[in-house]
Amino acid sequence: MNILLGPLAADLVLVIGMGSVLVTDLILPPGDKRLLGWGALYTLLAALLATFAMELTGPAIFGAYVGDPVALMFKRVFLAAGVLAALGSLTQLAERFERRQGEYWVLLLSSVLGMSLLAGARDLVLLVVCFELMGVPLYVLAAWARDDRLAIEGALKLFLLGAVSSVTLLFGISLLTGICGSTMISEVALYSREHTNPALLLGAALTLGGMGFKLGVFPFHMWVPDTYQGSTTPFVAFLSVAPKAAAIAALVRLLIAGGNALLVGVVPMLITLAAATLVMGNLLALHQTQVKRLLAYSGVGHMGLLLMALATGTELGLSMLLFYLVAYLFTNAGAFLVVHAVTGDEGDDLALFEGLYARSGWLAMAMLLFLLSLAGIPFVVGFWAKLYIFLAAWAGGLQWLVLLGALLSVLALYYYLRVVISMFMRPPPTPIEPIVPDWGTNTAIALCLLFVVGMGLVPGPFVEAASNAAQGFDGAIVAMPRSTAP
């Protein structure tokens, strides 16, 4: 038992919590289901605590899973995203979806469980199963406001693109396993290092394409703004961070493990995707008049930076990728939670933010800091995250991509500042109605703010943690021949 499941303790906590919520939901009478949210929140907190307090390293499930420091770091990101989303949705669920609370929490927990296992999947079967365990609940959660036309439209788009992406991923993986004759990623990497076969390259490219849908990189980004606009906002705070981090985790496992064996072939594709994503994400965000859509396109742009770090295939790149994900988690989730606090269920038009400073100074200041962090202004965490990615990419030989990214960061300031101007310079609608967010959303925003400012002032310990994690990565990172880069 110990040998088999020891490193999976945090995931077992999630399984137990999920089962308990599911059963308790059957017992509790309608009108008394608020307890379930607390159960889910405590489950996520307990699992998060377990990742810090327990020794979760080593292989499990006959080697299909490995708990290395990188997996552990990803796990913390997913669990933290789950905690923030749970805090944000507690009140909204109790007020708006009273009867269906239990299902929401079970689905949220199972999605987090899928991600958490995905982070350490060394076997392609486990990887695919976890990918689905993560993805399928998201389709349901996106359609939670099921009387809302926009929610259904957004969920349907998420489903269609998500389903196509997982089938594409499966097709790619079936080629990889078939040709290499094994489902272990290390064996696949070993085989592809020694043999060249166009089918292998096709398999790797299809796999990357499938992941690209989940990441929402250009040209697979169509679902991102629509789903964000339609879905309930605390869930979007989760959707905009956790599944993307999970797709990155899977790509890291697949491409970088075994000395970049599979990465070499797809680097040109990865670089093209990164450049196109950076450009299109930022350009499309320029003329948005709705805050959720604006943040959605800005998120697409941020995915370009992550791909850039991935394309370097170096240890520095991997560690900066991890640091960036932590920064992005708190910044982006925080921004969406503020949107939730301000707009409630009344859409997300930029006009709703006019004169926010007069209506709630706290929310306006929090949003300001999150937006500055997204834009990469010094002394909030986004600045360091972006700078380190640029440094890693520069050292990895992607100089032109760094210049492009820096140029687009300047452009991005324009659309972030539009929101800031709206909040601080425009008069509020009269009579001034103060906004008092519920305590859960407030707590979540405060947590995000703490990390955004804290990591911005003292990034050292977090960078160190990320570097240590990258050093302990299961799967040797070796220098890649640079000739493959265009």
């Binding site: 969920a155 489903f159 389903a163 997982s166 594409t168 076969n197 499309l284």
Partner: protein
């Protein structure tokens, strides 16, 4: 390298996959799109079974079972969403769900 007989199977499955992709891009009816999705999924299964016969053995067959189960789970949720689409929009053509743009 790839054996001759295996190549036939892989070609058929690649063609099936492409037909599925074409169908998803061209069909406007949500049920039609789900059917095309099944076609793509079956191309994957054909691939896996063919590889199981020629190289990967039992492992490939087990993978096929996993793949089938996963696709079913996905399509069930898809069907539920199509029912919701019918409820909110009174239609299951995907053109009706095109309100958000930009």
């Amino acid at each position: 390298m790839i054996a001759g007989d295996l190549r036939v199977f892989l070609t058929v499955s690649a063609v099936m996959f492409c037909i599925g992709v074409y169908g998803i891009l061209s069909r406007r009816n949500a049920i039609g799109v789900l059917l095309c999705l099944e076609l793509m999924a079956n191309a994957v299964n054909l691939n896996l079974v063919a590889f199981a016969r020629f190289s990967t053995g039992t492992m490939g067959q087990v993978f096929t079972l996993f793949a089938i189960a996963l696709t079913v789970a996905e399509v069930v949720v898809g069907m539920a969403l199509v029912i919701l689409l019918q409820r909110t929009h009174r239609d299951i053509r995907l053109d009706v769900a095109e309100e958000m743009r930009g």
